[in-house]
C-alpha cells in the first residue's frame, strides 16, 4: 500500500508524470533556454578569459622587434606562426637606458619544424628567456612553484605532454620541467620556455638526429635575441618611450602590446554586445512562450486546482504544489540544456582556436560551476515565475467558479 503521508513533493511528482507530453515540451523549452544562456556565456567568457590570459602572459608593455617585423609578432605570439628574426644582444642595455623604462629582457624564438621530434601533436615553439632579467615568465610560474628560475629550468605550455618524473622528451633527450602553465587557447600552449644554454643543448641533440632547422652557428645564437620585452614605469607615456627607443636603438620597430590586444578586444566587445542584445530578446521570447504554455496548462487544470482547495488546501499550499512542479521542470530542463551545452562546447573550443583565431580558454572549474548555477537559476526562475503567475492568475477567483469553468 502507498505510504501514508502525502507531501507537496509527491503530488507534484505525480502531476508531472501524468502530464507527460506537456511536461516534456516545457522541459525542452527550458532546456533550449539554458543551452543558449550557458553556451553563449561560456563563449563570451572563454574569449575574455583567453584574452586575459594572453595579456597577463605577455606581461610587457612594449615588444621590440627588427624593423618591419612588427606585424609578425602577434602572429608568432598568438597564432603559432613560425618566424625567425634576430636582434643584437647589446640592444638590451641600450633600451634599458631609455627614460621611463622599468624592466627589459630579451627573448629568443625558435619553432621546431617537425612535430615528430617531440611529445606534442603540433610543432613546438621554443622560446628562450634570460633568467637574470626575465620579468614575464617568472610571475606566472611563481604562482605554481616556489622556486627561482635557474639556468636549466624548462617551463612548458598546457598542450605539451608532461612525462612521468616531470620531464619532456625533445629529440630523444629528456629535460626536467619545473612548471606547466595554464591554458590560454593560443599558440603559447604549444611553447617551451627555457634558457639559452638549454636551447644550445637541444640544438646539439637535434643536429645529432639529423634535424637542422636552427639557423646560424652556436656562437651567433649566443649573441642573438628575437625580441626585447619592455615594461615601463607606471603612468609614463608609451608613445614617447617608443619613439625614444626607436631613435636610440636604430633599426627596430616597437610594438605596443595593448594596441595589438585591443584589436582582439574590440572584436570581443562587438561579440559581447551582439550576444547581450540577442540574449535579452531570446529570454523575453522564452519567458513569454513559457508563460503562455503555463497559462494554457493552468487553464486546463483549473478544476484540479479547485479540487485541491475544496478538500481544504490553502491557496498557498496549492501554489506550493505548482511551484514544486515548476521547479522540478525547471531543474530537469536546465540541467539537460547545460549538459548539451557542455557536450557542444568542448569541441567548439578547439574550433575557436583553429578557425576563428581568437584566444579562447574555458574558465576554470569554479567559473564553469558558477556560470552553470547561474544559468540553472535564471532558467528555473523564469519557468517558475511564469508558472506561478499563470496559476495565480487562474486561481484568484472563487473555488466553485473555477471548478465550474474547468468542467
Amino acid at each position: 500500500m502507498a505510504g501514508r503521508s502525502f507531501g507537496t513533493f509527491r503530488i507534484a511528482g505525480k502531476n508531472i508524470k501524468a502530464g507527460n507530453f506537456k511536461n516534456v515540451s516545457i522541459i525542452i523549452l527550458i532546456a533550449f533556454t539554458a543551452f543558449f544562456l550557458f553556451g553563449g556565456n561560456l563563449i563570451v567568457y572563454g574569449m575574455s578569459e583567453g584574452l586575459n590570459q594572453v595579456r597577463q602572459r605577455l606581461g610587457a608593455d612594449l615588444i621590440i622587434v627588427p624593423a618591419g617585423k612588427g606585424r609578425e609578432i602577434s602572429g608568432i605570439l598568438l597564432e603559432g606562426e613560425a618566424g625567425f628574426f634576430y636582434l643584437d644582444n647589446d640592444l638590451v642595455s641600450k633600451v634599458s637606458e631609455t627614460e621611463g623604462v622599468k624592466n627589459v629582457t630579451g627573448q629568443y624564438y625558435f619553432a621546431s619544424a617537425a612535430a615528430t621530434c617531440c611529445d606534442s601533436a603540433k610543432p613546438i615553439e621554443i622560446i628562450g628567456y634570460d633568467p637574470d632579467t626575465d620579468f614575464v615568465i617568472r610571475p606566472w610560474i611563481e604562482k605554481k612553484i616556489n622556486r627561482k628560475l635557474d639556468d636549466n629550468a624548462i617551463v612548458i605550455g598546457s598542450d605539451i605532454d608532461l612525462k612521468e618524473n616531470n620531464t619532456i622528451k625533445l629529440y630523444d633527450e629528456y629535460y626536467p620541467v619545473i612548471a606547466q602553465l595554464d591554458k590560454t587557447g593560443t599558440s603559447m600552449d604549444q611553447s617551451v620556455y627555457t634558457t639559452k644554454d638549454t636551447i644550445i643543448k637541444i640544438r646539439r641533440s637535434a643536429l645529432k638526429k639529423g634535424f637542422d632547422f636552427f639557423s646560424g652557428e652556436e656562437d651567433e645564437i649566443i649573441n642573438q635575441i628575437s625580441s626585447i620585452l619592455v615594461q615601463v614605469d607606471e603612468g609614463s607615456d608609451l608613445r614617447a618611450i617608443s619613439r625614444a627607443i626607436e631613435s636610440n636603438a636604430g633599426e627596430v620597430e616597437v610594438v605596443e602590446v595593448n594596441s595589438t590586444l585591443n584589436a582582439i578586444s574590440s572584436t570581443l566587445n562587438s561579440i559581447k554586445e551582439f550576444f547581450f542584445v540577442f540574449a535579452i530578446l531570446f529570454l523575453a521570447m522564452a519567458s513569454t512562450t513559457l508563460f503562455i504554455v503555463y497559462y494554457m496548462c493552468a487553464g486546463e487544470r483549473k478544476k484540479e486546482f479547485s479540487l485541491m482547495r475544496m478538500i481544504g488546501m490553502t491557496r498557498a499550499k496549492v501554489l506550493s504544489v505548482v511551484l514544486t512542479e515548476n521547479i522540478l521542470q525547471g531543474l530537469a530542463g536546465s540541467i539537460a540544456g547545460l549538459t548539451a551545452a557542455g557536450l557542444f562546447m568542448y569541441p567548439f573550443s578547439a574550433l575557436f582556436n583553429v578557425r576563428i583565431r581568437q584566444p579562447f580558454a574555458f574558465p576554470g572549474v569554479p567559473g564553469i560551476v558558477l556560470l552553470g548555477l547561474l544559468s540553472i537559476f535564471v532558467t528555473t526562475f523564469l519557468g517558475t515565475a511564469a508558472g506561478l503567475l499563470a496559476t495565480y492568475y487562474v486561481c484568484t477567483k472563487d473555488t466553485y467558479d473555477i471548478m465550474r469553468e474547468g468542467e
Binding site: A2, F6, K17, L307, M310, I311, R315, A316, Y400
Partner: protein
C-alpha cells in the same frame, strides 16, 4: 455544531439581467439534524451547498459555524476548518485525476493531521465496497465508484458536518442504501447532515425536508 445562515443571497447575470440564484435565505441548522433538499434543476441547490462549504462567496449575507464565519475570513483558518469539519461531496466528479483512490483519501486525511489513518481509510473503503479499488486511478472507475470514493474521502476526517450534493445520483439502490444509512448513523451520533437529492427514498431517512425553488428555501415537512 450550529450552522447559522443569515440572509444569504447570490446574484448572477444572464443576458444582462440580474437574477437571484439564492434569494435571501435565513436558516439555523442544529447539531444532529439531517436535512434533505429537493428542488428542480437550476433552482439553486448546488449554489446553496457551495456557499455553505465556503468555496463560493455569497453576494450578501453570511454563514457561521458556531463562531466561525466561513463566508469570509482568513484562508488558512477556513481551509483547515473545511478539511477537518466539513465532509463535502460535490455534484460532479471531484477526485484528483493524478492520484490513486488511496492517495485521494489519504491526502485529505493527512493534510492537517500527520497521524497515520491507514486503518481508518481501510475501514471506510471496505464499508463502501471500494477497498479493492484503492490502487486504481479515477479514470478507471465507474461513476458510482467515483462517487463512493468521494463519500469515503468526505468521511475520513470524521467531520461535524456533511454537505452532499446529490451523493446518490449515480448509485444503484444497494449502494444508495449504504450511503444513506451512513448519513443517518452520523446524524444520530450528533453530526449535521445536509443532502441535496432527487431521490424520493431520501425522505424516509428524516423529517426535515426542504424545497428549493428559484433560490428560495422552504420547509415542506
Amino acid at each position: 455544531m450550529l450552522i447559522h445562515i443569515e440572509d444569504i443571497s447570490k446574484e448572477y447575470k444572464r443576458n444582462d439581467e440580474k437574477f437571484y440564484a439564492i434569494d435571501h435565505i435565513n436558516l439555523d441548522i442544529k447539531e444532529g439534524e439531517f436535512l434533505v433538499i429537493y428542488g428542480k434543476s437550476g433552482s439553486g441547490k448546488s449554489t446553496f451547498i457551495n456557499i455553505l462549504a465556503g468555496i463560493l462567496k455569497p453576494s450578501d449575507g453570511s454563514v457561521k459555524y458556531d463562531s466561525l464565519k466561513i463566508t469570509d475570513g482568513e484562508d488558512k483558518k477556513i481551509s483547515e476548518f473545511r478539511n477537518k469539519q466539513i465532509g463535502y461531496i460535490g455534484q460532479g466528479y471531484t477526485l484528483l485525476p493524478n492520484l490513486t483512490v488511496y492517495e485521494n483519501i489519504s491526502l485529505s486525511a493527512h493534510l492537517y493531521d500527520k497521524k497515520s489513518k491507514e486503518k481508518e481509510i481501510e475501514e471506510v473503503c471496505k464499508r463502501l465496497g471500494i477497498y479493492k479499488l484503492i490502487n486504481s486511478y479515477p479514470k478507471d472507475l465507474s461513476g458510482g465508484e467515483k462517487r463512493r470514493v468521494a463519500v469515503a474521502r468526505a468521511l475520513i476526517n470524521e467531520p461535524e458536518v456533511i454537505l452532499a450534493d446529490e451523493p446518490t445520483g449515480d448509485l444503484d439502490s444497494e449502494n444508495t442504501v449504504i450511503v444513506l444509512d451512513i448519513f443517518k448513523e452520523l446524524a444520530e451520533s450528533g453530526k449535521t447532515v445536509i443532502v441535496v437529492s432527487h431521490d424520493k427514498d431520501a425522505k424516509n431517512y428524516t423529517n426535515l425536508i426542504y424545497q428549493m425553488d428559484k433560490g428560495k428555501l422552504t420547509r415542506i415537512s
